[in-house]
Structures are given as C-alpha cells and as structure tokens.
Amino acid sequence: MLSHLRLCAPARTPVCVLTGCSRAASGSVKDKQPLKKAKTPQGRLDSPEEESRAALQKFPDDVNPVTKEKGGPRGPEPTRYGDWERKGRCYDF
C-alpha cells in the first residue's frame, strides 16, 4: 500500500503521502473513489536490476532440472567449489 501511495505523490511533497496514509488507515474516507494510480513514466524507472537477476532466475516450478530438488537454491549448485557460494560470495565452508 505504501508503494502505491509513493507512486501517486511525487517525492518532493512527503506531506501528501503522510496524509494519504492516515486517511486510508483511519477508515473515515469520505469519497469512496479508489486512489488513482499514476502511470510510471516509460523508460525512466525501468530497473536495470532485471538483467542482473537473470543470472539467478527461478527454475520452472521451482524444481531444479538436474537434481530434481524442489525449493532449492537458485542458479548453479552452491556447493560446487567445496564451499557454499552464491553470487560469488562464500557463506559457509
């Protein structure tokens, strides 16, 4: 809900966001119209994270096709180098 409000009020006027929040929370909204969601400017907020996430995509149905593990770690097998690796970081050894 909060991100919804952040979209409808620009960052420069935080007061707008706060009142919006309490208005909805108190339940005493006079006008029953739903808050209009502003359109995200095309291209401006397209997150570059999408490409880097591609490295660790979820398996189809969350089942690892090689090991048939369901709900396991995404990406290549974390223990393939002898330690527990994810995104180049070692977590346990």
Partner: protein, 663 residues
Amino acid sequence: MASVRAASRLLSKRILSKTTAVPAAAVQGSRDFHFSIYGKKTSAKVSDDISTQYPVVDHEFDAVVVGAGGAGLRAAFGLSEAGFNTACITKLFPTRSHTVAAQGGINAALGNMEEDDWRWHFYDTVKGSDWLGDQDAIHYMTEQAPAAVVELENFGMPFSRTEEGKIYQRAFGGQSLKYGKGGQAHRCCCVADRTGHSLLHTLYGRSLRYDTSYFVEYFALDLLMENGECKGVIALCMEDGSIHRFRAKNTVIATGGYGRTYFSCTSAHTSTGDGNAMVTRAGLPCQDLEFVQFHPTGIYGAGCLITEGCRGEGGILINSEGERFMERYAPNAKDLASRDVVSRSMTIEIREGRGVGPEKDHVYLQLTHLPPQQLATRLPGISETAMIFAGVDVTKDPIPVLPTVHYNMGGIPTNYKGQVITYTEGSDKVVPGLYACGESACASVHGANRLGANSLLDLVVFGRACALTIAEENKPGEKLSPLAPSAGEESVANLDKLRYANGSLRTSEIRLNMQKTMQAHAAVFRTGSVLKEGCEKMDAVYQTLADIKTFDRGIVWNTDLVESLELQNLMLNGVQTINSAEQRKESRGAHAREDFKDRLDEYDYSKPLTGQVKKTFEQHWRKHTMSTVDVKTGKVSLKYRPVIDASLDEQECAHVPPAIRSY
C-alpha cells in the same frame, strides 16, 4: 551537568509515580516503560537500592535468556513451552540477530539421499575438531540432529525437497559415510539459499505462540553472581536509559561470537562477545578462545567472503609488485592450495611489506584476465558482488582481499547439557544457575575447527538442551533465593564512568587500534615473536581504555555509551584470544603456528602406539584452554582442562580414538 541531574531527578519522580499499574493505552502520549504490556503481570518494582541517579527496575522470572538469535530463541520458547515464566533480553530485535546471515545449510543424518547413520556424522565431527571436541557433546548433537531438523520442519521451516517430498540433502562440509571410508555423504539440508534467515524467522514465529516476555533493545551489562551462583542479569534499556535487574534462578547466555575484535570479519557490528565478557567479569573462565576460523579471501573493508571458486576458475592472488605470490608458497597447487596455506601466504606477503593499498594491509584477487562471458556463466552474480562490496568492476580491476574471521569456536565452557562449568581440583564443576548455548558457548562440539553446516545444528540442539536441562531440574514458579539489594552496583558504576568519560581517545580510535593489532598479530600467521609482540601491544591497548572519551552525556538511546560498553567486552575477548594463542605451542585445527607445526598429543599418533610413553598432562596439548582475566589490570591467567574422550554411551556409539587428521 545540572540539567542532567535535574532530568534524572525528574525521571526518578516519574518512575516512582508509575508504580501503580496503569494501562498502556491511557498513557499513549508519554513515554512508558517497555514492560507494561497488555495482560502481563506488571510485577516489576522500582528501587533506588543501587543509586539515586539510576533508579533500578527489578523483575522476577523463572528463567532469563540473554540473546535472541537461533540458540537464544530456541532456549526461550523451549522454556516457555515447559511452563517457565521466561524473559528474553536482547540488544537487537530477534530477527536482526546475526543468525539471519547464515546462508549455508544444516547437517543431519536423515538418510534421505542414501543410507546414513548419525554415528558417521559423529565420526566426521570428531575428526573435524582435530580431537579437541568433547565427544559426549558431539554424540549428543549428532544423535539429536535428525530429530532437531524434523522438529524445525514441523515448526514450518520450508526445507527444499526431493521428488518424493523428503528433505533434500546435499554434499557439504567434510561429511563422509562409514567412518570416512564410504565416500562423500549427503547430509546438508537447506532452505533455498537462506537457511539461517529462514531458521531465525521460523523460530521467532514459533516463539510468539508462547508467552515469553521479550525485552528488545535491552543491553545486558553483567551477571548477578552471589557466592558463585548466578542469580540473574542486570541490563540497560537503551530506549529510555533505565537499568533493569532480572532476577531468575536460571540464566541462559546465547549472545553469539566476537568477530569484531578483528579488523576484517564477516560478523555484524553487533557481534561483540557480550556473553563471554559477562562471564569473564564474573570471574569464570572462557574456553578455547584462541581457535578462530579464518577464510583467506574476504573483501577488504566489507568483510564479505569471496568464494574459492574464483580461484578455482582461474583467479589469482597478486601482491603490490603484481606477482602471483602463491607460486612461491605452493609451487604445485598455487592458488588452489588449502585455505590455511593461502591465508598464511597472504599474511606473510603483507607482513613483508608487499601488501597493496594506502596502508599496505591487503592483497588483490585478480579476475581481469578471465573472459567476462565465462565469468558470468560460471560465477553468476560476482560482478554485482564486486561492485557493491568492493566498488570495482571485476573485468577491469582486481578485488582487494585479506584473511577474514568467520566463526569463533571458543566461548563459555559448558557440559553436554548446556550447564556452564569451571574446572577446579581436577574435575568439572557446574556453576549453579548459569547455562550457555550457541556460538557463545563451547560445549565443545567444534573443537579446534568447525565443519560447515554444523553451526546451525549446534544452535538448535543446544538451545533445546538448555531448556530441557532447566525443565528437568527446576519447577516453574519456584521461590527465588534472596539477592543483596545492592547487587549490580559495579555495573552501574562502570556505566556511569563511561557515560561521563573525558579522556583523550575516542571509542572508535581504541577499537581500531585493537582491531588492527589483532589482525596483524593474532590472525592466521602465528609464531612466537609475533604473538608475544601482539600480547604486549594488546596489553597497551587495554590500558588505553582508561583514557576513553565519550561525547553523548544523555541516557536515552546513547549509542556512544553502548559502543563503549561493547568495546570493553571486545577487549576482554581479544586479550584472552591472543594470550591463549601465544601459550599454545602446537598447531591444531584453526590454530596454526609456524614455529610449532605439529600437533602435540599425549601419544604420537602418526606412529604405532606400542612402545610409546604417554606424555603427562603438562607436556602435551590435547587439552582445552581455560582463560580468566583480572579486569582491572588486563592480565590473563590460563589453566587447562582435559578433553572428554568418552561418548555418552559406549555401547550405542563408541568413541573415536585420536588419529592423524588428513583429508
């Protein structure tokens, strides 16, 4: 100063007027104390027995748990489940404890992937500990492991599954089948790639079913000891600066490790060894603090570890001259040498002045010569890691790395039931009323070296063990023995002294001095002269604590004060670590010395035992170090305690006689 006194007078007036129970809702505007929660017994009493400046709130519980990580939460709700009125004091919100960062798995001999037996896990753990682990505690942990994992799964922890729906287990952490002779064992259970996070959240969620009283953001100052018995804890509420005494017949310490004594560590800023220090100040010993687990390639400044896979894929370590120095130290294996060899080589390069950076205190890990496509397919996410934590583009610049602390095998000595022990007159004696579990305890299951994925298991098994032991030996609602009204006054005096400290060195400066000294002298490269020099330097840094300067004179959310208290705790851990390392003249597990490269046991296990004369206890080193500190002078005294070689039941699980550890 006058305004502070006026404010504290005002505070005491407000507190005394609030002794009648007032519902929290009625005082929404003013700051109310943490402990007046709906429906709870507000039996806390205010007194000024210690000081009129610092009114103390007294609470009475059946059991108090200090720390709310994996072990603390498990102990806390285990006790609540058994009907005890339990308080859980934590300086962090439970789900922010460092357990959340443990992403590796948890070992258990469930036998889902192949036929498995917990006795084989027992053997692997004893071997991994380099025969310094107490075999009864290891027997207890490995036997309870399958039940513990199933219990977690029943609490709702979403382990990854095989096709049949059983918990999926993978190969990890030096685990073998048939006592090392049957090949690799698959014992590590995990939850996607965030086992520790999931464990902590599962335990926290489960704990909310029981009525444990959580005292969040309360910093535990000291134990309340009387006649060698632990009668509770005194803590500072960070939110409003009030002092609280928690009287209880049973106190469980689960405060975690002390990675922050070193300059480079993977631990959170809050891993300051508070429990170890509380025990030290109470005059009790800490065990095996010299055993600290290092990893060779931790990112400089960030403390995040870079996987060995980088070197496996062709990455090389270079010094300030651009030389691939591993060729000199390990001509055959080069950068793929074992972790301790790599760590030691890196440290030697830094010591000899060939380190990089403005302070020449680290080396570089170069991946720029590898094709970027190959790097992206084999090590996905590494460019992101390097950019976020080191600020380098991994295809253009090398990553700054240095050996980094990851885990502390040592801690508060306990028996396999979780009761804190001291070693006097040749036998273990239980300290009544005091228990410890988790990384802060030393049961000792990890001995001289911890195996991967055994730490999370240690947390849940011994957290539960503490709760079970307390439930066995006590009844809920038992009357508390009387406590001197002025108990805890030294802690409050120390707090007051730190709050108004006006020396010349800031807390951050003293802390950095300590961290740099420990990193240079008590890290991977240990040899007599380096350690001795380190002991003297650490002693000097310890003395500078008297010259500390703090800036915040307030009492409400005084982080300067809390950081200074944490620094005092870190310092106690640091001096014990380096002194214990200096005295231990052998190499065992994580403690590797250049001048004493071999393990010194009672027999030489590399040769047949017949005809060998058994060394006396003073002559060999297969024993636990028990260190105590004289807090005023900073002088460390060391005693030694034998390793427990017998398992809990020789018929069920024969103990493993010592042998040479080779993988």
